[in-house]
Symmetry: C2
Subunit: 226 residues, 2 copies
DNA sequence: GTATGTGAACTCTTTCACAGCC
DNA sequence: GGCTGTGAAAGAGTTCACATAC
């Protein structure tokens, strides 16, 4: 009930906090203040405190936050205290790169199935898994469901693939296809789209000298006043 | 001067419009309305019109927007009417995948240099380019500048690499390293971070039945009323 | 002294709704 | 009839500033 009113932007920032806290944990830091965390992440301390306040009171006045406790709590809130099964659709060049990416496993995300339409790839073994025919995607998910779908197929097929995923119970999709897809309400969708990122940066590059050689590049001024 | 007041969120949406318009152009569509474009992109028509209005008046009342003209205009605004040089730092597994990704070139983005610290990789030819020693990054950029840096190195080196890039005139960075980095004001930074995306989706997955099997998954209801 | 937690103020975005034009 | 362009209104999100607690 409270959960329903938490802004989505806040949820999206929590993983960033988790990552910073995990680093502090490695350094055996006991306590961290919103100010220090904010400096680390280029976020205002007020924002961190406000974000956390949606979920409870985790800090101690005069001290800050207990790193271990806050980390555990945020992980639980985000559901990072368990492991998640993922299916990869598209085992071409990009798909292979995703399969061999070492960053998912340690965070509890596991690709347990992969699919392609290319006969040359179907049946091939990639590490622990065997690439299945994308024709069997629906049936395979019915037999053995996953939590998340990773879409790495060409743009013109992406929407169809996602429709099949959703029809077979997948409620979260990470889409690498460079296309705007639609999903029903209640289904989570995230785009990984480097080209869009590049294409917005060029706007600012074009603006040229504005911030370039004119004024000195400086880190966020730290108003040390109050 | 007007440009200075344009919200960044607006700029970030323009590439999405460009992509949709490019598709319509392929289909030889002459004209499109904000309503149709909005349906395609899951964006409200009002938002599209408002966004475009920051840059001028491109539409014709009663008809809509000329696809070709709007596409050309947006490309010019974003600086997509020229080509951009990029340097890749980190030519390991992820870097290789980025090098062989076919989606940059057609959009005018070209990796013209690549760097690594691994002696086994330095000097190796990858397509058109030869991998250089990351020690020479600064000197190489001085000789032959690039517009954009793509960072695909391990997290603990990313900040250092980015500092070198910035010190040598790079004003836009696409960072694949899973870490929060800092750049001076005036330098554009975009993160490509699939793990963060996954970690925010799990929050909603955890919420479970709320939108799952309860109410029927449906596309954004189209209020056909007014 | 130091730092949290939080209403209130402020700023930024989105949406509305309609005049104006095709 | 249909659709744009845009002030005005509404809604979100961020920051302030201070009472409260350690």
């Amino acid at each position: 009930m409270t959960a329903a009113e938490i802004p989505e932007v806040v949820i999206n920032r929590l993983p960033v906090y988790v990552r910073a806290l995990a680093l502090l944990e490695l350094e055996h830091r006991d306590v961290v203040s919103s100010q220090e965390l904010g400096r680390e992440l280029s976020v205002t301390p007020a924002q961190i405190r406000k974000d956390l306040s949606y979920f409870g009171r985790f800090g101690k006045q005069g001290r800050g936050y207990n790193v271990q406790h806050l980390l555990d709590t945020l992980r639980t809130i985000l559901g990072l205290d368990r492991s998640w099964k993922m299916a990869l659709i598209g085992a071409g060049r990009l798909g292979q790169a995703i399969l061999s990416y070492g960053g998912f496993g340690p965070q509890g995300f596991h690709v347990v199935k992969a699919f392609d339409s290319n006969p040359a790839l179907i049946g091939r073994r990639e590490g622990e898994i065997v690439i299945e025919d994308v024709q069997d995607l629906g049936a395979s998910l019915q037999r053995d469901p996953v939590d998340i779908g990773i879409v790495a197929v060409p743009g013109h097929i992406a929407q169809t693939v996602i429709d099949v995923l959703v029809a077979n119970g997948v409620r979260a999709v990470l889409n690498y296809a460079p296309i705007a897809v639609r999903v029903p309400t209640g289904v989570q969708l995230r785009q990984i789209d480097p080209v869009l990122s590049l294409q917005s940066m060029t706007y600012f590059l074009k603006q040229g000298g504005l911030t370039q050689s004119g004024d000195l590049p400086q880190l966020e001024a730290e108003a040390s006043g109050a």
